[in-house]
Symmetry: C2
Subunit: 329 residues, 2 copies
């Protein structure tokens, strides 16, 4: 690997704190990491960039590290794979304080521990813009299969875990503090944490592997866009009942304060990192029970039909699916 | 994965041109790629950043893609692993022309084909600074072992493939065109290509796996620094004879034109992506023969001893090891 500014502090700090284990035969410190392999490997890459995915005005280094790992690991959850290893390539501006780089390293180490993954490799480079490019690797034991976006069939139910809109509302609160007038301090804290400290649903994802779930995806772009990916990959249409979409507590109040439709936050803001899935009706009780054992709620919000695209029904009438909240990013 | 500006053009273009094969069960287009695994997996991450590792004034999009993949794959060569898959996370400035993003995609596809790797995953994000974060994955069949930095033993010889200093000289020519007065146009072209279009020595690396080579590393930071990594990881000292270091044709002329010591370019500028290794003396003929079959020369430049650090001998006297050419980066 090429040597970069801060490599010795940041990667050295990670290396000292990381315990290799499981599949990792050789971690940070050589030209590449060495892991043992079997079955299927699931690999995703995801970057977070300053000014685009986070703002140092709201986000300390630990929160940035948290968000970078969480968003990549959410893709591992969305494949129903066991979380394995993460690799992080960090672009560090020259003028960054050493404490900031140390905070990033500590955040990466803490989150890797928290989510049970090995920080098996890393690299730092000098960069005018701070970024973290994360590669997350998951594993599926021999004889088992990951879940994908392409497993939806007409007749399946569409369901989502937890509740939506919280991450979008959290971002509204961070960017437009006047919107906070409409919620109490406790709700504000919960919604902001939803934006800054997302939790990848790794346990829930893994547990769905042999559950009968058809297609699985994480809610990162926004439920409408993400179900669009499922519909496209599966060659089906998806119909969502607006009234059934679980909206997080406080989201409606924040939306009102900011002059937004709460459903826009729930369906288009994304970053909630819940899991959306399609389920053959007969398997619904079993899937709900599996998720309940992991303290995860499940709400049926629509169905899979023949056709293409995603349709939103409000009071029985087709309504445009809200799309994109680029101004929030 | 999170949706980013240009994802549809860039990743879509890659997807259309990429043929999945070998280990790739599911490539670009789901939450993660799915590959089949066995034996040992070798994984490295490496980023190239505009203004740090490349300059758009000298580098078209194909050359940037080339350099990004080459530097990551050189780490796979340095582990003596079979090249497998690459994943690329691209940060794209908002104002970038679509043609530029397409050029990046085409460059990635061409280089992946050229080097026999599958482009199994990718992600684009909006970023004020253009960057490519590459994850390269290699494989080592069951029962075999990769080569690492820690395999050097006192008594081993130290050897390097090819010749050094060309990439550094190429950068001098790009940055200080007046230095070009000292070399002919053909030499200039070769040296500049060495800087802009490095070739990872994948065939040579793989072929060394069961050759008796002790430690293996690629020359990315500069021979002095890279052998320092070997000495540190192996717990040995390394002694280099300055006169034995193979310096690429034309490097001395460029160095003279720029007021530099040619040995500084050969030992400290790095980016030549040759392979440096330690070899038990009895295995030297076999290793040289293996590399010769891949049209790769091998030069013995020193030896491994007890102790720590890297020492440079010039005319039998210890001389400071040139270190770092940060102003060239």
């Amino acid at each position: 690997m090429r040597r970069g500014i801060g490599e010795f502090e940041l990667i050295g700090r990670i290396r000292r704190q990381t315990v290799d284990g499981g599949r990792v035969r050789l971690g940070i410190g050589d030209d590449a990491a060495v892991t043992s392999a079997s079955g299927l490997t699931v690999t995703t890459v995801d970057s977070v960039v300053e000014g685009v995915h986070f703002d140092r005005a709201f986000c300390g280094p630990e929160a940035i590290a948290h968000k970078a790992l969480a968003t990549a690991l959410s893709d591992i959850a969305a494949m129903a794979a066991d979380p394995g290893e993460v690799y992080v390539s960090v672009g560090l501006p020259g003028g960054l304080a050493a404490e900031f780089a140390e905070g990033l390293a500590d955040g990466l180490v803490d989150c890797a521990r928290r989510w049970g993954v090995a920080l098996a490799g890393g690299d730092t480079v000098s960069s005018p813009t701070l970024f973290l490019a994360v590669t997350a690797v998951g594993h599926v034991p021999e004889g088992e299969e990951p879940l994908t976006r392409s497993g939806a069939s007409p007749g399946d139910l569409v369901a989502v875990t937890g509740s939506l809109g919280g991450a979008g509302a959290g971002l509204v609160l961070l960017r437009e503090p006047s919107a906070a007038m409409t919620v109490d301090a406790g709700t504000r804290e919960v919604l902001v944490a939803r934006q800054l400290r997302p939790e990848p649903l790794l346990e829930c994802g893994m547990s769905l592997r042999a559950s009968g779930v058809g297609a699985l995806i994480d809610v990162s772009d926004g439920l409408g866009a993400d179900l669009g990916h499922v519909a496209g990959a599966s060659g089906v249409a998806i119909e969502i009942e607006a009234d059934s979409v679980p909206v997080q507590d406080g989201v409606a109040d924040v939306a009102r304060g900011a002059g937004l439709d709460p459903l826009d936050l729930a369906l288009a803001a994304g970053e909630d990192y819940e899991l959306a899935m399609t389920i053959p009706p007969g398997r619904l009780p079993a899937v709900a029970a599996i998720l309940d054992r992991r303290s995860c709620t499940l709400e049926v919000i629509g169905k899979v039909t023949e056709g293409t695209g995603v349709r939103l029904l409000r009071d029985g009438l087709e309504s445009p699916m809200p799309e994109g909240f680029q101004h929030l990013r």
